[in-house]
Amino acid sequence: MTKEATIVYLDYAATTPVDPRVVDVMTPLFRQDGDFGNPSSGHIVGRRAMEHVERATGQLAELLGCKESELVWTSGATESDNLAILGAARYRADRGRHLITMPTEHKAVSDVFQVLEKQGFEVSWLYPDHTGVLDPAELEAAIRADTQLVSIMHVNNETGVIQDIEALGSICRERDVLFHVDAAQSVGKLPLNLASMPVDLLSTTAHKVYGPKGVGALFVADRPGCHVEPLTFGGGQQNGRRPGTLAVPLIAGFGEAARIARSEMQENRAHLQSMRDRLWRGIRDMDGMLRNGSEDHSFPGILNVSIDDVEGESLLLALEPLCVATGSACNSKSQAPSSVLRALGRSDLLAQSAIRFSFGRPTATAEVDFAVARYREAVGRLRDIAPEPAP
């Protein structure tokens, strides 16, 4: 049984621990007696470092089902999103300045679109239905002759809702509009085959899939009209698309994490679903309980719930030492209700009471049972303390 003082981590959508096998691959690449070289150097130490980069590129390309030449290493999903959106919008600005996205996107996407709005681009913000799913017909209707880019995430980081990127991408492809997908939550967890999918740009990161923090990648499809203007300059690495000395240990770590994710994906997915369903069964009967986001189109690693008449910040503190999120971890300092949940039609109070549980490979049944007990106890305690609501 889990002791009360023991931390129970159910926030794997925020980040994951690094797999020990990944650490083993990375560690020698920092040391004097390892392959610590600069992969841009022509000498043997540099060439050895480059071999690690090439191996990792191959591993990630296998996971994504794309060509190695279609991958650009970055510092993480935020940089990948920025490079994709700013880079593509600027590259195609002479053809048109209309862009499309959703208010339920991660801030690494939505904030970039707001920047572009200030720079004279016009952005259409498409709302999902009450389950968080975007109807492809909405996208079809929103695309105009001057639309150049659509950005829609694969798995929502707060609710776990999965968008039908095949259908959405097909619409973009038919209309010659670039389609960017923020796949930070899905790469390594859901099967992807970019060679056969209508996706032009795809952002990912290592630390959501048991790799190190500080490294990510952007997929840029090798097809006419698909290109990103660089955001940084100097050095010429990665064909100038993202210059700068490559972070060899981090890239090698991401490669190994991708290899592991690919080989263990099916087993891990079944485990996540089992943990999520167990937690939901444990709390679904509570008064005023609401599940946020579609049950039919959801990633099994995330469960987002709201509950009537419980204050969110107090709930989060009462849940300790259970580590969960009230919304996007990147946004957890904000007391404002989640814009994602507001877009699903939740009231401010329900959005503010939302808790995101997210599960990972190491999640144990006993931890889920602890979470169920803790959640029920915390909600009961806060309701006991509360005065009657206004009539």
Binding site: L317, K333, D384, I385
Partner: protein, 129 residues
């Protein structure tokens, strides 16, 4: 690193709200509902002494901790001491972030209303010893 938004004092008060609940027959009871926050206070008095305080609250941890701190501090003190309660002291001693001043001001309003009702209650000023 994200700084812990709660001091050890706030954590202790929030974690052990011994004064949360109701009094059986309070001399005075007030409830304020504003800005989505709810605070209820109840007092028992014996003569000029506050012999029992209880609170109920719906709001952030700082509000709940502030209500518990008030009850602990003022139980056993004279009714006249209620006038000395001020949001600023709670803000500094817990401490509470400035952006939450509005919620602690609601607690201050509730305490002042409670003081007025206690002074107006039939038990006020009676020496029952």
């Amino acid at each position: 690193m994200t700084r812990d938004p709660y001091s050890a004092r706030v954590r202790e008060l929030f974690g052990a709200p011994d004064h949360a609940g109701d009094l059986e027959k309070p001399a005075a009871r007030v409830q304020i509902i504003e800005q989505g926050v709810r605070v209820a206070l109840a007092a028992d008095i014996d003569g000029d002494i506050i012999v029992g305080l209880r609170f109920r609250a719906w709001g952030c941890p700082h509000l709940l901790a502030g209500a518990e701190a008030f009850c602990r501090e003022f139980e056993g003190r004279p009714v006249s001491a209620l006038q000395a309660f001020g949001a600023e002291e709670i803000m500094q001693t817990l401490p509470v972030p400035r952006e939450k001043l509005g919620r602690i001001l609601l607690l201050e309003d509730a305490v002042r209303s409670l003081g007025q009702r206690v002074r107006g209650s039939p038990d006020a000023g009676k020496d029952t010893n």
